[in-house]
């Protein structure tokens, strides 16, 4: 796994961003595990926690105090309230900070100054980056449309506030966001029409409006490659089963044929969407497989981490857009360490 080093070394901060339902939190965990498997220390940051991130590691919910999630992986949450409190402390207002929050003054000001919360949270991430709290810092960005606002806030605040402490906060956050040696955004999407269309729009917007730098995009929940089943009808399966002397009941043959037709159609559509995404965004893409287990658990995360590593290696080897590379997850390096512990 030597050739993923350049990916992990390029920037300390990776902000994982995507719409709800694309499996952003799972991807965050997979990235963390993939980095930890290279022996790096990893800090996971969850914003305004709600996600099931800690559950993926079988741990209790994250708080604003670091907790160990796995060897080499720590996790914590950043809430805007805690960030505000810390900011006030840093500005010599330890004494009034608590009162400000209790009386609601902080809340009213934060409401009246939209973006203040996001800016302070981003400021906290920047501090962590500057303090080098870990080799890799993976941030699970807020869900839904809020992720865009979250990433664009520093620039907007920079433009809105002409002078004052907020402006310098905003400037420093923008400096980090725009520097690919400090921070990159990992966009996550699904190989489906609407999510791909949204990702094409979002990728452009993130680059031009938020000024961030994009890492390879992740296409999550890609179905396994079933091209071998293309054009298999109930009749052809019956013939094959008879030839092999299996005596499969008609019911099984029919179900197999229906399921094959379904999977082949979905596979083709996913293929086309991945190709469209590659063409329109010019981003490197890494495909992660759909996990069929109802709930993704630690072994599922390991599997995804290995698929991610394999995908990054593929993008490293060929600068071309290998959209279909990860299609068959079972092709992921079988020798890859899957016990989860870094050595």
């Amino acid at each position: 796994m030597t050739d993923t080093n350049s990916f992990w070394e390029q920037s300390r901060v990776l902000i994982v961003a995507g719409k709800g339902g694309v499996g952003k939190t799972t991807v965050t965990a997979a990235l963390a595990v993939a980095a930890a498997k290279t022996g790096r220390s990893v800090q996971i940051v969850e914003i305004e926690g709600k996600s099931g991130l800690s559950r993926l590691f079988g741990s209790r919910p994250l708080s604003d105090i670091d907790q160990q999630l796995a060897p080499n992986i720590r996790g914590r949450q950043i809430t805007s309230l805690a960030a505000l409190l810390e900011y006030l402390n840093d500005h010599g207002m330890r004494r009034v900070a608590k009162r400000m929050i209790r009386s609601g003054v902080a809340d009213v000001v934060a409401t009246a100054v939209p973006g203040l919360r996001d800016l302070l949270v981003m400021g906290k991430i920047r501090q962590m980056q500057e303090a080098r709290v870990a080799d890799v810092i993976v941030v699970d960005a807020p869900a839904a449309g809020h992720a865009l606002a979250f990433l664009a806030t520093p620039r907007r605040m920079e433009q809105a506030a002409r002078v004052g402490p907020l402006r310098s906060q905003a400037e420093r956050a923008v400096a980090m966001l725009e520097d690919p040696s400090r921070c990159r955004v990992v966009p996550v999407t699904l190989p489906e029409h609407t999510p791909v269309s949204e990702m094409i729009q979002t990728a452009e917007w993130l680059t031009s409006q938020a000024g961030v730098v994009l890492a390879p995009a992740i296409v999550n929940m890609v179905n396994p490659d079933v091209s071998i089943l293309a054009d298999q009808s109930a009749a052809s399966l019956t013939t094959a089963a008879d030839r092999a002397g299996l005596g499969w009941p008609e019911e099984l043959i029919d179900a197999c044929a229906q399921s094959a037709a379904f999977a082949v159609a979905r596979g083709e559509q996913q293929h086309a969407e991945i190709a469209r995404l590659a063409k329109e965004t010019q981003l490197d893409l890494v495909s992660l497989p759909l996990i069929f287990e109802a709930e993704v658990d630690r072994s599922g995360i390991d599997h995804l981490a290995d698929a991610f590593t394999a995908g990054i290696q593929a993008t490293d080897r060929s600068a071309t857009h290998t959209a279909a590379t990860g299609l068959d997850a079972t092709n992921a390096d079988p020798t890859a360490n899957s016990n989860g512990g870094p050595r």
Partner: protein, 396 residues
């Protein structure tokens, strides 16, 4: 009572469609309104769809911030189609609504609106201000411009504002609201109340009071905190805030009244809530959370629509599949076929468990399962297909 989705639509003036993002909420909402239109109602779907998917589906480049009628020729073929080709379910449903006994001749109208939060907020300011000068002062204020953009809970609040505006126009028999994909699905319900609380907060009142009065009445402790805050966030920001709230002088009462009226509309018995979810764990959890919160406010989830369900195709057990896999070892195609089936069956079975757990929890009287289509919905034909699945095929 026959617990059918059709009945929910018939007895409701407003249908609020909730759920996390990425579960096809917008398509379902549009399909519900479309169904209303085919039943002879004047139906409108209010959507918050930044990707403008719905506009494309409806053959429009853009949806405006006001209801726009969808070209009847786009969706009426569906009416003709379903009254002939037609499952009995659809025919039975039509018979319920007296006016549509001769479907086709009595078609309603189908409208759509895409929320523009900023334009809605601007309109609201203009309509609530005492004079144009006051409106302009607010619209030009930096804080207002931040506030009215895509930040914070503004979108949720404006969705409700738009709902209220449309409801008051009395132009429609059925209003379907596609709610923003909130981190917390209930944000939009609480948005008007949140504005109320914000306007009533002592600090806000302090800021909104006329200047001299505010100096006199100023609670010293509060002023101290505010001054401290201005040291941290910059005096300029606090000045902007003071100017912003100052500009609102005289308008808070109107806002408060309006927010209460919106709450009344939401809580009315003519308003129904539908939850759209995928059969996936995270989406189900959100739906469960939403149902619980809704119950706390005295409301109830009328129906659950589970979108993109993988169908069961066989009763084969895991043990049988294991045997099938073993015997097909020698033939790669057969082996792949049985592997493929076993995988999707296992997924489908788990989905079933998740969904029945949710339905029991929510106590919803209507559950509709929409299968995962091989191809996704993004044209009018597939929107019709979705509408048919909702009201005919998929009910359990």
């Amino acid at each position: 009572m026959n617990p059918r989705l059709t009945n929910v639509i018939e007895r409701s003036k407003i249908v609020i469609v909730c759920g996390t993002g990425g579960v096809g909420k917008t398509t379902v909402s549009a399909a519900l309104a479309l169904h209303g239109a085919t039943q002879g109602l004047n139906a409108v779907v209010v959507t918050i769809d930044p990707a403008r998917r719905l506009a494309h589906t409806l053959g429009l480049d853009n949806l405006p911030n006001r209801p726009q009628q969808i070209d009847p020729s786009l969706w009426q073929p569906h009416l003709a189609h379903s009254s002939q080709g037609a499952s009995d379910d659809v025919a039975a449903a039509s018979a319920h609504t007296d006016s549509s006994s001769t479907a086709g001749a009595t078609a309603g109208t189908f409208w759509a609106l895409q929320l523009d939060a900023k334009a809605t907020f601007d309109d609201l300011i203009r309509s609530q201000s005492e004079n144009p000068a006051q409106a302009e002062r607010i619209l030009a204020n930096q804080i207002y411009r931040n506030l009215s953009g895509a930040l914070g809970g503004t979108q949720e609040y404006m969705a409700m504002e738009k709902l209220y505006e449309i409801e008051s126009s009395q132009q429609f028999d059925l209003i379907v609201v596609d709610t923003p994909p909130s981190r917390h699905a209930l944000d939009f319900l609480e948005a008007p109340g949140r504005l109320n609380r914000f306007l009533e907060h002592p600090v806000t009142r302090l800021l909104t009071a006329p200047t001299r009065l505010y100096l006199r009445a100023a609670n010293r402790a509060m002023m101290g905190l505010l001054r401290a805050m201005s040291r941290v966030v910059g005096a300029e920001v606090v000045e902007d805030a003071v100017a912003f709230f100052g500009a609102f002088e005289g308008m808070e009462a109107g806002f408060r009244q309006r927010a209460s009226r919106i709450e009344a509309v939401i809580n009315s018995s003519d308003t129904s809530f539908l939850v759209v979810t995928s059969p996936r764990q995270d989406s189900i959890e959100e739906a469960r959370f939403f149902g619980r919160r809704l119950r706390e406010t005295g409301q109830k989830v009328a129906g659950v629509i589970v979108n993109r369900v993988h169908p069961r195709r066989t009763d084969r057990t895991a043990e049988q599949f294991a045997a099938d896999k073993e015997t097909s070892e020698t033939d790669p195609t057969l082996r792949a076929a049985v592997d493929n089936l076993a995988r999707w069956e296992a997924l489908a079975a788990r989905e079933q468990d998740q969904v029945s757990g949710l339905v029991a929890d929510l106590g919803a009287t209507v559950t509709v399962m929409i299968p995962q289509f091989g191809r996704e919905i993004y044209d009018m034909a597939s929107l019709n297909h979705m509408s048919e699945s909702l009201f005919a095929g998929g009910e359990k």
